[in-house]
Subunit: 134 residues, 2 copies
DNA sequence: ACTTGACCTGGAGCGCACTCCAGCTTCTAC
DNA sequence: GTAGAAGCTGGAGTGCGCTCCAGGTCAAGT
């Protein structure tokens, strides 16, 4: 089973242009072509694409994804380095989540402040207005 | 107490250039100037800067931070809209955290796979090599 | 035969968020 | 009074990750 580029785009969540772009920068191997010279993506291609989108979602720069892709071609010998990249990325993700949680605290604090302000307004006791507008 | 731009940069974690840039695009109000025409940031300026960095960290686009900054000048009347922006951003952050957690699962799965591969190698039973190199 | 639509290529363009630069002024320390 | 550090301005440049475009090919339907 193979997929035309539009279908591969649909299934991977990437755009057609992005698929071609990823190929150009060697994030993905050039897929097979059909008789008319059109790209024909395999399920295997799709699995790799989906994994790439996961790495992208973690914020991994394309440069590093390229390295990972390159290492993959070197087979088992590069497994150590590949694992290292993933472990490093996991650390980044954990850090990022922690960072976001900390920002979430700030947002929640501010929002609570606005809500208190709203309640005060209803009670005609606008004591927190200055605070909320800061 | 006021701070020269270098000190403000240090305390906010932004670069000097970024501080001037934020001023130019009206994310921050032009700070007071000292007798020599140099920027003199107040503690209040710093508080706002730090809050801005929090919003940036959540991934809020500068365009929206600008809107928030603009609304601030309109005082209490804009509190509802400001709260709305923060609530929306909180939703985004929660979504982003969920997304990152899902990617984390993938990373953990892959890493576990590599580790299993390493153990297999030690035991001279390399059955998972193909899987890990995928 | 011909239109239509999906796909092809190489290359240019874009939006974002900075970051850097040249050339100038101003304060501080010696 | 002079050197050096820090700051100023307006504007250009950068890196990233796409995204769009012109001009062409190919295959299927009518």
């Amino acid at each position: 089973m193979t997929y035309a580029i539009a279908e591969a785009a649909h299934r991977s969540g990437l755009s057609i242009d992005t698929l071609r772009y990823y190929e150009r920068i060697q994030l993905i191997d050039p897929p097979a072509r059909d008789s008319g010279g059109r790209r024909a993506y395999t399920d295997e291609d799709l699995v790799w694409l989906v994994f790439l989108t996961k790495l992208r979602t973690t914020g991994m720069p394309i440069r590093m994804m390229r390295e990972y892709a390159r290492l993959r071609h070197q087979g088992v010998a590069s497994a150590g380095r590949r694992k290292q990249i993933l472990v490093q990325q996991r650390t980044e993700v954990l850090g990022r989540i922690a960072e976001l949680n900390s920002c979430l605290d700030v947002l929640n604090y501010k929002i609570a402040n606005y809500e208190q302000c709203e309640r005060d307004l209803e009670e005609q006791a606008p004591g927190r207005l200055a605070e909320a507008s800061a």
